[in-house]
């Protein structure tokens, strides 16, 4: 018994390098062997609301997708960008991308490129999507989009005048969009879309954000100002599952290109790694507490 106590106390003072090593292994092994731990992903109500909201849109509807994340948060947000774009294109919805962060421009480019290269859909720039360039200003750009988009943006990302793009006909302000989808990892993000555009002009908004942002965004979700939320990597994985099922059901329809495989996104395969890492952290916390308790008792 005494030996066991000592082991627990010793564990409490474990060199953090061992903790780092265990975390690295817990993430690396499931990432390198995705089939090792195959736990079904259960969808949460917030992810289902997002899916239903986008699913209720009709062919030809206009959706503005805001890219407010960068390289650091790409692993968490990017899978949901791909899944959302796939869902939108599968419904024949016109997509307008706007970067609110300098890196958002590249993130939008990567997401569109990945969807195009999947060959699932026949999509063309200026027919199915338009990419707006980055403008400095954050929430003021959102305010500008809300009132007069053309006063902020005169060209698209390829320096083509917006008046020369047929897809931009009738698009002047936020109310000309049928839906706004925000992909964000900070400020400006979903809160700014609520405060500066969507709530005032009554335009439906959904969001996909990092896990740490969810606590700040959840009051808007509960009040209905944000219609559902994709919360971090788990949210992305849930959405990927729903889109995967939706696209699989469309397999024989003419919307999808023939002989193109439908594959679940990256977030799904990353969930095993996150599961193990979270479990390991909980084990660390329990061990840390046992050690703390025993040490306190020894000191008393």
């Amino acid at each position: 018994m005494y030996k066991l106590k000592n082991i627990f106390i010793y564990l409490g003072q474990l060199d953090r390098r061992y903790i780092f090593l265990l975390i690295a292994l817990s993430v690396l092994i499931p990432l390198m062997k995705p089939g090792l731990l195959n736990i079904p992903i259960k969808t949460t109500s917030n992810s289902e609301i997002v899916f239903e909201q986008l699913n209720n849109l009709n062919k030809g509807d206009k959706v503005l997708v805001s890219f407010a994340y960068g390289a650091s948060t790409k692993p968490e947000i990017h899978p949901m960008s791909i899944a959302v774009l796939q869902h939108l294109f599968s419904k024949g919805i016109k997509v307008y991308t706007v970067p609110l962060w300098p890196e958002g421009l590249m993130m939008a480019k990567y997401a569109l490129k990945e969807v195009i290269e999947s060959n699932l859909f026949d999509i063309k720039e200026h027919t199915d999507y338009v990419s707006l360039p980055y403008k400095a200003g954050g929430e003021i750009i959102i305010r500008g989009i809300a009132t007069d988009l053309r006063s902020i943006f005169t060209q698209d990302v390829n320096n083509i005048l917006l008046i020369d793009i047929p897809m931009m006909d009738g698009v002047h302000k936020v109310t000309d969009f049928d839906f706004i989808f925000d992909l964000s990892a900070g400020v400006p993000g979903n809160a700014e879309w609520v405060q500066f555009a969507c709530d005032e002009h009554n335009v439906p908004l959904s969001s996909g954000c990092t896990s740490i942002m969810v606590t700040d965004a959840i009051p808007y979700v509960e009040s209905g100002q944000i219609r559902g939320i994709l919360a971090g990597m788990p949210g992305a994985a849930e959405y990927e599952q729903m889109v995967f099922k939706y696209l699989s059901d469309l397999r024989d329809s003419e919307i999808l290109n023939e002989n193109t495989p439908i594959v679940p996104g990256k977030a799904t395969s990353r969930m095993s790694a996150q599961s193990i890492a979270h479990l390991l952290m909980v084990i660390f916390i329990i061990l840390g507490n046992i050690s703390y308790y025993l040490e306190q008792r020894r000191n008393d």
Binding site: I23, G144, S151, I218, H278, G288
Partner: protein, 267 residues
């Protein structure tokens, strides 16, 4: 005089913007909705330029005076200059300057894709290691508040990932009982009494739950319980913070537009 003009501008534009939200006068509303946003756009462009100059100045000074960690400033300056060259001078692709930033053949794209992107992701990924280490050392049952934080943290960590679904109801129940006894442990004079009470409760409670057929309650399903934590206590806390921030913003804005708060101009 310069300061007075600056104060006058702050107060005048502040009041104008505020009035624009309360008075329905088309020229004023147009100014607030359109012109002011363009002004901000132009000013923020200049601010970014000033930021760049400031960054250069700061790091050049650091290198020139060989202040602490000055060697890292060399990396900052070199990276800065390289990206400026690839962004404004050297293109490397056939497309025009500007759109070349997102064109795959361009040098800027190469740098972003192969250097900046992996470095950014690496920096963020390091968080996992620090969070793990910190949670091991800092997440302790010290008092009631710390215990609440610990319980919420554990349930969120497990409930947010698919592995949370695999936790059976009785295990959740045992965790609750364990945590309850961790909180009330100090109230027991006899250690053995506490131990027997805990073991008794851990055996008796699952049987009681089974008898009353309550095992399907959401509280025993970790994913559902974490959703409740997010929807109710987390929302309440976040709303309280948001309202506090909003009131603070109103007070601070009032001080600024009435000229009481002068620190914004460096006073």
């Amino acid at each position: 005089m310069k300061r007075k003009i600056a104060y006058f501008l702050v107060v005048f534009i502040g009041f104008l913007t505020l009035l624009g939200h309360f008075i329905s006068y088309p020229p004023l509303n147009n100014f607030i909705d359109n012109d002011a946003t363009q002004w901000f756009d132009i000013i923020s462009g200049f601010a970014a330029f000033l930021g760049v100059i400031n960054l250069l100045q700061l790091h050049l000074n650091k290198v020139a005076n060989k202040r602490s960690n000055w060697k890292f400033s060399i990396f900052t300056l070199v990276s800065f200059i390289v990206m400026i060259i690839f962004g404004f001078i050297y293109n490397g692709s056939n497309v025009a300057m500007g759109p070349h930033l997102k064109e795959e053949g361009s040098a800027f794209y190469w740098m972003f894709h192969n250097i900046y992107l992996p470095l950014g992701a690496t920096m963020f990924a390091l968080l996992a290691f620090f969070v793990a280490s910190a949670s091991y050392r800092a997440f302790k049952i010290r008092n009631f508040e710390a215990t609440l934080l610990l319980i919420s943290g554990i349930f969120l960590m497990i409930g947010r990932v698919p592995i949370g679904q695999l936790v059976p109801w009785w295990m959740s129940l045992e965790i609750y009982i364990f945590l309850l006894f961790a909180i009330i442990a100090s109230r027991f004079k006899e250690k053995k009494t506490m131990l027997y009470s805990m073991i008794g409760t851990m055996i008796f409670m699952p049987l009681l739950i089974l008898f009353f057929n309550l095992s399907d309650l959401g509280i025993f399903k970790i994913p559902e319980f974490q959703e409740w934590i997010m929807a109710v206590p987390a929302t309440a806390g976040s709303r309280a913070i948001m309202i506090g921030i909003a009131l603070g913003t109103i007070a601070q804005s009032y001080r600024i537009i009435t000229g009481r708060e002068r620190s914004i101009l460096g006073d």
